[in-house]
């Protein structure tokens, strides 16, 4: 009886903590999103206004009408495809590194060293490379670039998650007659679903938030959301409402995906049955 009461108290406390935490983390988001409903006077009101005078979607309508909203779509496509590419290539490579230590220390270290290069320093040579390849201002160019940028992250991250899984299941499957490829697809990847998902989210986020290369490598054909947003910060103007509305549009799709798929993040109890 006492244990159950204690458990219930613990649950209440934990829920309370969860709520408090979420509120704290979400407050800046709330502030940002509210701006999309505020008039300029409300944005720069003194004392600050916590609630907009009225909720209307005029600012969103403008973004769609002017075509700014399509940059969100562009970014979704670019980040999405590059995530798929780097997750696919990266996870395969991660398995090789995890189970077979392919290339040993040197390969793994070389891979992660790619993430040590300061982006600003290589923007111009990559620009030159792309000019030569004819990839400036193209979707392919950015997708490939982001895939390359995220590969080290995916490889190292997934290697960690794969190492987490005892290889007993794989060996059992091999004994059962599975080919190595089948082992990968039917055993390994399903088991590290949580890791795959968590890694994929941030691979997407890194590609999504990337600004510098999107700025330099595009002119007019490819407009990403991050670059578009900076157009609203002018020396003699500041389209705060648009910045905010764009941010809402920008975060919404990913948020929805995460919301629907978050159950993959936390593996169920069933996996406890798998013990080496």
């Amino acid at each position: 009886m006492k244990i159950r009461a204690r458990r219930r108290l613990a649950l209440v406390l934990r829920t309370g903590a969860a709520v408090a935490l979420t509120l704290a983390f979400l407050f800046p988001i709330y502030w940002l999103f509210m701006i999309s409903f505020k008039t300029p006077d409300e944005i720069f009101a003194y004392p600050p206004k916590w609630w907009p005078g009225q909720i209307n979607f005029a600012n969103y309508a403008v973004l769609f009408k002017d075509g700014d909203a399509t940059t969100v779509w562009n970014s979704l496509v670019i980040a999405g495809v590059s995530t798929l590419v780097s997750m696919f290539l990266g996870s395969l490579a991660a398995y090789s590194l995890a189970r077979f230590r392919t290339g040993g220390e040197h390969l793994a270290n070389w891979i992660i060293s790619q993430r040590m290069v300061p982006p600003i320093a290589i923007v111009f040579p990559i620009f030159l490379l792309y000019v030569w390849l004819g990839w400036v201002d193209t979707y392919v160019g950015l997708i490939l670039l982001y895939s390359a940028f995220n590969l080290p992250y995916v490889i190292w991250m997934m290697r960690g998650f794969i190492l987490d899984i005892p290889p007993a299941l794989e060996e059992a499957a091999l004994v059962d007659g599975y080919t190595r490829w089948q082992v990968l697809w039917k055993v390994v990847f399903p088991m590290c679903r949580a890791g795959l998902f968590a890694t994929a989210i941030f691979t997407f986020v890194f590609a999504w938030n990337e600004f510098l290369f999107a700025l330099v490598l595009t002119r007019t054909e490819v407009a990403t959301y991050t670059v578009q947003v900076t157009h609203y910060f002018g020396g003699q103007s500041n389209f705060w409402a648009k910045i905010s509305a764009m941010s809402v549009l920008g975060t919404l799709p990913v948020f929805v995906v995460v919301a629907f798929m978050q159950r993959y993040l936390v593996r169920g109890i069933s996996l406890g049955a798998v013990k080496g």
Binding site: L11, A18, P28, Y46, R99, T102, G104, I112, P125, F161
Partner: protein, 310 residues
């Protein structure tokens, strides 16, 4: 515990298949798995690196495209550039504070959410949001929130303190670091949180339950069962986050532009100003190479330590 360098051992010593046994039979398979990734990395990574090395020995500036061999000119300049080393110091300070805080905070949050609580799905999804806001916008938003006149932060502090506060978060030397750190930690703790949540979910429940039945304290359970299980993920998360913190730019730029003076100038801001705005192409190349060397040394040293500690 595997002591072989380079590979992060799994939770039990047999996680890694010794190559000698299956070496030949799996060779094609192994290589086929890594080849495409390596190809992509080479495609995008080789030329810039070569370019950097070549250019760092030249003297290309905004006004001069001097491609003659200049020897160690840029490297000598580098060594005596106080601003560069200060920027490195500032960056290290940011990493030294933000990284542990994000890790511990993220781990605590993951622990909180790993057990069932009502509406967990909603919480987890909502807590991802900070990471999804473009850092540029996040920085601008925090700048507005920290604003003395138009932002709620001072207002809230005023309520708590009982008197009106007019803290200039982005101007006063004592406040700029806290302001930047708050914004940065806010944005990236969810990163640690989610990764660690995924890692925690892989901890063997039966072991946990056995420990609970045995009456082990929380801390003991954590140290002996949980930590070793999630160690590979923690290590990589810290590595990745650390490397990204090294490139800290947008939040600082939006809040203080590296100011007051150059007080909060990170190495990224320094490189941006020198390379992007002032077009000291050769000098920036030398700086970039220095960064790569320093980072590589630091990371590989850290990795070795991690191995030995296991």
């Amino acid at each position: 515990m595997s002591q072989r360098p380079g590979a992060l051992a799994g939770s039990d010593g047999a996680a890694v298949a010794p190559p000698t046994r299956r070496g030949v039979r799996t060779r094609g398979f192994r290589l086929a798995l890594v080849a495409p990734a390596i190809f992509v990395l080479l495609l995008v990574g080789v030329f810039p690196l070569v370019y950097l090395i070549v250019v760092s020995f030249q003297n290309i500036t905004m006004t001069d495209v001097d491609t003659g061999f200049q020897g160690l000119l840029n490297y000598r300049l580098l060594a005596t550039d106080g601003r560069l080393w200060e920027a490195l110091l500032h960056t290290l300070i940011f990493i030294a504070i933000a990284l542990p805080v994000e890790l511990i905070f993220g781990l605590a949050m993951a622990q909180l959410f790993i057990e069932r609580i009502p509406g967990r799905a909603v919480f987890v999804a909502l807590l991802v949001l900070p990471v999804l806001v473009s850092p540029i916008v996040a920085g601008a938003n925090w700048s507005l929130m920290f604003d003395n006149r138009f932002g709620p932060i001072n207002q809230i502090i005023g309520w708590l303190a009982g008197q009106e506060t007019a803290l200039l978060w982005t101007i006063r030397p004592t406040l700029v670091y806290p302001a930047i750190l708050v914004a940065e930690i806010w944005q990236w703790t969810p990163f640690m949180f989610l990764l660690l949540l995924a890692a925690l979910s892989g901890v063997d429940r039966s072991q946990l339950e056995a420990a609970a039945i045995d009456g082990a304290s929380w801390w003991r359970t954590f140290r002996k069962i949980v930590l070793p299980a999630i160690w590979p993920v923690i290590a990589v998360a810290v590595l990745i986050r650390g490397l990204d913190l090294f490139r800290l730019f947008d939040i600082v730029w939006a809040l203080t532009r590296g100011g007051p003076g150059t007080m909060t100038e990170t190495i990224s801001i320094f490189t941006y100003v020198k390379g992007f705005q002032q077009f000291e192409t050769s000098y920036t190349a030398a700086v970039a190479l220095l960064i790569i060397v320093l980072l590589s040394a630091a990371v590989f040293w850290a990795l070795k330590r991690v191995e030995l500690a296991r």
